[in-house]
Symmetry: C2
Subunit: 236 residues, 2 copies
């Protein structure tokens, strides 16, 4: 029995817990350490090889979990992708709704939403990239669920745009198209932004906010402070 105890302790030592992952705060707490390892392993493997290029044994190996161990925590490879997609979509929507709820002028509110959206895609670029690029790898049911969350995000943006137009803060031709224009900016950040970029996610988000606000501000809003909008970022 003593020999077996030693062997078990050695086996435990062999499983190294991976260092903190820059995006794991998005996934909340885990019931079991190997669930964390499996999820982070699937995230990085999907990002590297694509969902269809990834075998469950690749994930299990990377997570230092047996293939059977994987299935005791997650029903399938799809369950892991669903978990990742949900974390990205739920996390984004909740932050956008919080940004909206803070109030202020439409200009302040939209600025905060753009900053939140762009910053989120930069900070969680692996998770959002997998969620966006593997959207077509979700089952139709999971896809439908993510689509609902995306429509909620669109609604948040469209409502603030309409309020700003009514208040005379914004001037634009087509609010529905402008919503896509704005959301595209953040979404595509997940394609090209990587950790170590010369700009931090926050710096990037501030510049995007400024550009979007300039694109849609009503002319009187431009002249109200007598300042070109491009120079206002630093004074905030």
């Amino acid at each position: 029995m003593a020999a077996r105890k030693v062997a078990t302790a050695k086996a435990r030592q062999r499983v190294q817990e991976p260092p903190p992952h820059p995006e794991e705060s998005l996934f909340g707490a885990y019931e079991h350490a190997s669930m964390r390892r499996l999820l982070l392993a699937s995230l990085d493997t999907f990002a590297e090889l694509g969902y269809h290029g990834t075998a469950t044994r690749d994930i299990a190996r990377r997570a230092q979990v047996s293939p059977g161990g994987l299935y005791s925590h997650y029903a399938s490879k799809q369950a892991l992708l669903e978990r990742i997609s949900h974390a990205a979509h739920d996390g984004m929507l909740a932050r956008m709704q919080a940004a909206r709820a803070e109030g202020g002028t439409s200009r302040e509110c939209l600025g905060r939403i753009v900053r939140t959206h762009v910053g989120f895609h930069a900070k969680y670029n692996t998770t959002t990239r997998v969620a966006n690029y593997e959207f077509h790898s979700l089952t139709p049911e999971n896809r439908a669920e993510m689509r609902k969350l995306r429509q909620e995000m669109e609604r948040v943006v469209a409502e603030v745009l309409n309020e700003g137009a009514k208040a005379g803060e914004f001037l634009f031709a087509d609010g529905q198209l402008l919503t896509m224009f704005i959301l595209s900016l953040g979404i595509d950040v997940s394609r090209w932004f990587r950790p170590g970029h010369r700009l931090t996610p926050e710096e990037l988000a501030r510049q995007y906010e400024e550009l979007v606000l300039r694109a849609i501000s009503a002319p009187k809003a431009t002249s109200a402070n007598g300042q070109p909008k491009a120079n206002r970022g630093a004074s905030r």
Copy 2:
């Protein structure tokens, strides 16, 4: 022999040439009709199932070509993806360079480039979506080649931005970041735009052009004509 001729003729009749594909003008001429069928079949299958979710026999079946026939025209599934990616990247770069070469003010030039870039991604949304979403499915060599073409596109945009800034037409903080901002808009159009959208690719492109120009125009450019930029689209 007569019987064999009849059989061959019947076999030919069974192969229905697919109707004109809305994006096939991007691919130029074919030496052989089955090359056209294979390429269009691979395009639509990659778009539906993803590159890794597609087997060469799926493409052959859809193209009504035997698996052996596929390999007599294309060395591999990768060769088909490479052909599609090249068509997207070469076609886009050539049009952007042509838009740049037309001359005029930096404002006119950038407007034309944005219109071209956005319109291209809307018109050829399947080809550009496959090229963008399956970028990671290319071999490292093919990926490096596409990356060079993308850098050329970035250079076209960045140069016009810098010229416009020097001429006092544009005002922005970070030309390199602004280049990504602008290119993201077109790229993401390939994700969400589909044929039958209430706006034509040209209408969409005009609105995006207007928004981008408003976002970066120097303040004096705004007041030079005394008109808010949002109202100028119709008068052009």
